[in-house]
Amino acid sequence: MSEENKEVLKPVMPEDENESFGPGVSHTPRETWGSKIGLILAMAGNAVGLGNFLRFPCKAAANGGGAFMIPYFIAFVFLGIPLMWIEWALGRFGGRHGHGTLPAIFNRIWKNPVSKYIGALGIVLPLLIVTYYNYIESWTLAYGYFSVSGKYSGIHERQAMETFLEGYTGRTKKESVMAVPAGPATAEISVAFDKYYGDGVYRMNFEFRDANDKAVAGASEFAIYREPGPNTILPSKTATLPEQLESVYPGPGDTLASRPETVTFKFRTPVKPETAKIGLGWGNNYFNGYGAALLFFVITFAINIVVLYKGVESGIEALAKVAMPTLVIFAIILAIRVLTLAPVKAGALDGLGFIWNPDLSMLGSAGVWLAAAGQIFFTLSICTGAIQTYASFVKDSEDIVLTGLTTAATNEFCEVILGGTIAIPASVMFFGAAETAEIAKSGAFNLGFSSMPVIFQQIPLGSVLGAMWFGLLFFAGITSSVALAYPAIVFLKDELDYTHARAVTLVASILFVSALPVIFFFDRGFLDEMDFWAGTFGLAMFGFVELVFFCWIYGMDNAWDEMHHGHAMKIPKVFYYIMKYLTPAFILALMIIWGYQDGIGILTMNGVPAENAPVLWGARLLMAAITLFFCYLIKKAWDKKGQVHA
């Protein structure tokens, strides 16, 4: 780094004690970014996450294709960019006085004792999000390893790959019911076998009623093994079969080399199809409990903590300088490979057409506009409190307008160009348009963790490409997770004078303990509960609050001047009005719609199985406990060092 650059980026010190705010000012030099490019990459790394490569293509494909880009870019201009500038400005504003988190920043803007507790959202929300984000991030590391080690090689069907993920997340048993079409009493019933979960032993329980309403019930086992190995578990040949049953296919103890098309029952006397109950049980052969998930979570968690422990320049910035270019290179290689693949069910242009052919009639749907606004909101990682903390390490005279826009543009490059060219086009080429539409609707995880591994197995060097795919997701994830964990660390250092190591240790302890229920109760809705309140509704609420604080309480004129302090590019004047009126209205609408559409049902646990209710209450209790703990720490900090200056 040049001497001039070092001067520009020298450590930020409180300028004047009388100008301080919050619970006093630490005189310890604050951390700082090592270089401008490091700052941009770290901020872009915060924004670029799993959603760029998984959520965006699913949303675009399901909401009008190319036409989706119209509301998308409108939301980018009216919601994304204004909030990005506002958060950078809030962060630098706080950093000027030695504070990198929202309690002190809000307290400076509104000298009311309540303001600092409202600012707690800027610490608690990212901490809650990273609690479960680390777990999802650990899947990418695990799947990268599985790709290279061949753990999922031989699984060529999406449904089986979904079961693989279920096994990985600890769900080792699979139970389902096979549907029997209604019809007149018959001596032969064939049921489509659409429950292939993977190779292994299937246990079937069945019950029919004959013309006299007498039960005809039994149980048997069969197995499917495409590539039997030395540890293959064979099905039992012993079965409980009723006298009225002449035969069943697959029969007891049969081992098939491929999935059967149908399961067929032949009876000596007719039975009534509408009385049929056929249950299918399958033991997940891929994993045995939570061991693998815990192992990869601990490794991922440890990597995160090492980065956090090394701090801004040696940890976060150094990571971003490696992770971001690597991520982009991996994505470009994958995009080129996808576009040059030989057609299977469709060609590369059909794949691109699926995501880009516009359905302009969709623009009349409010849902499409909401989906576009939501995508911009999540993809830029705004309203999490992380941008403010990163921006607090920017020198007072440093530009934030151009730098903020650069990070937003970098995120869009990774999303629109790279994210739109890999997963969905590949899925169309291998599964066809109709199945890809189902995949896109079923969610981003299915696309990333079920469809893509199946695709990679069918192309040369698939294990390497698979490792690159999950590697890029891992890099996208970790650059975001360290950003989300950092506000809590900075709060402890700035406001309670913790040493860096002590602050990292406390935050790591909270994160680790909180992540355990996320892992063990994943299939019972613990993560989803946290994701809605902290990662969706909470963010919109926090975004609205910070807009009110900055643009209305601090005042739009002051906010405008603050943003332009040291500017390298002037913001067009129209954004003055956009930020003051349009962006708050936009985000308030998001908050109300999300709260109305999903929040009421989630709050009242509508449709939640009774056995899951205690788990969801546990998630709420955890969120409340972490919030109260940080409110207590805020009180402690202010009590210790005195209230805000009048």
Partner: protein, 35 residues
């Protein structure tokens, strides 16, 4: 891929690449002028 798909993809790509290139160009220019 339909012609309209090409139009939407091209416009989106051009918009994003131009914005990204412009931002990095201006950033480098601003850094250069400081030196």
């Amino acid at each position: 891929m339909l012609f309209s798909g090409w139009v939407f993809m091209s416009l989106s790509w051009v918009l994003v690449v131009s914005l990204t290139a412009y931002c990095f160009y201006k950033t480098l220019q601003a850094d250069g002028s400081k030196k």
